[in-house]
């Protein structure tokens, strides 16, 4: 498609004049290197055994002990709980990085729009409902904390875009608490099971279902708060 003349549009940054590209010899070498990588990748993929000896069988075998019925959730929240905990922490570090760069921009929202207000009234409750549905679904079908958190975070983005602002009382420590809740509850439960003699994050099978749901609910709130706060573009 693209014509490179780029009739650039508002809201775009035009590239400065690019330096001249590589010469013909460099191009040829580049092409050969890329071809070598392609051949290497192709042989690697083609030499894979047709049925990969993955960990699927092990997961299925231990599924009853995990407290949930959906294998993906079992792996994410139980068998490989560490990974998910650290993922939550990574999201949180990203927000810290943004906050350390700049304070949030002053909120001069363009004029209020009645249509947007109506859209909000219709969509926001539905989005919260769907987030709850996805969270609940995680136990037995595709869904879970990240998906629910992203939908809930998108609700925050939509509300922010239509001019709703966090009340002054909430954007201090209550916001920080919401951001921390997921990691905090996850680690606390992980540590609490150690009191019973089990290793970190190894839930007793009898209560695993409830614990996972609690962790997921907290993580959903934290992920939503983090994503919405990232959208603010700075420390509130």
């Amino acid at each position: 498609m693209p014509d490179t003349r780029s009739t650039s549009v508002p809201g775009t940054v035009r590239a400065r004049a690019l330096p001249a590209g590589p010469g013909p010899t460099a191009r040829l070498i580049l092409l050969l290197l890329l071809a070598a990588v392609l051949v290497g990748l192709a042989t690697a993929v083609l030499s894979l055994p047709p049925v990969a000896p993955g960990l699927g069988a092990v997961v299925t075998e231990h599924l009853p002990a995990s407290g949930v019925e959906h294998p993906v959730t079992a792996v994410l929240l139980n068998f490989r709980g560490y990974d998910t905990l650290l993922e939550l922490a990574v999201l949180w570090l990203a927000l810290l990085a943004v906050w350390s760069l700049t304070p949030a921009p002053l909120a001069h929202e363009p004029t209020a729009n009645p249509m947007l207000a109506a859209l909000n009234q219709l969509l926001a409750p539905l989005m919260i409902l769907v987030a709850g549905y996805l969270l609940w679904n995680g136990g037995h079908a595709p869904g879970g904390a990240f998906q629910a958190g992203a939908v809930l975070g998108a609700t925050g983005v939509l509300l922010h875009l239509s001019g709703r602002r966090l009340p002054r009382a909430v954007d201090g420590w209550p916001l920080r608490l919401a951001l921390l809740l997921g990691v905090a509850l996850f680690s606390l439960i992980g540590l609490a099971v150690m009191a019973g003699g089990a290793p970190f994050l190894t839930y007793p099978p009898a209560s695993a279902g409830g614990l996972i749901l609690a962790i997921e609910a907290a993580a959903t709130l934290s992920i939503a708060a983090t994503l919405a706060a990232l959208f603010l573009g700075g420390r509130p």
């Binding site: 549009v9 869904g143 998108a154």
Partner: protein
């Protein structure tokens, strides 16, 4: 029936590919954005067809999420990136904006 669903999904994917031309062509930012919005609707249709063809009900939830969040990008676009206060700064931009009516 399954092959009909797959054939329709393939057909819709082809219309999506054709729509990409508008993303490249513009001329205004809104044209590109509209094309993306249209892709969203097409993707919802494709996912619903695939859910039926592959007998995988989870894909309907993916379509539901797409449908639910479809408005947000356009709201962000009109409220942030495409505001009238900022006048087009260069000649080609002004031309493109005016030509939006006559191209």
């Amino acid at each position: 029936m399954s092959s009909l669903y797959l054939a329709l999904a393939l057909f819709l994917l082809l219309t999506l590919v054709a729509g990409l031309w508008r993303v490249g062509r513009g001329p205004t930012a809104a044209d590109r954005m509209l094309a993306a919005q249209l892709f969203g609707t097409t993707a919802v249709a494709i996912l619903l067809l695939l859910a039926e063809a592959m007998d995988s009900p989870g894909l309907r939830d993916v379509a539901l999420v797409f449908a639910l969040l479809a408005a947000i990008t356009v709201v962000a676009f009109t409220r942030r990136a495409w505001q009238p206060e900022r006048l087009p700064t260069s000649e080609p931009e002004r031309l493109a904006e005016r030509a939006g009516g006559a191209a």
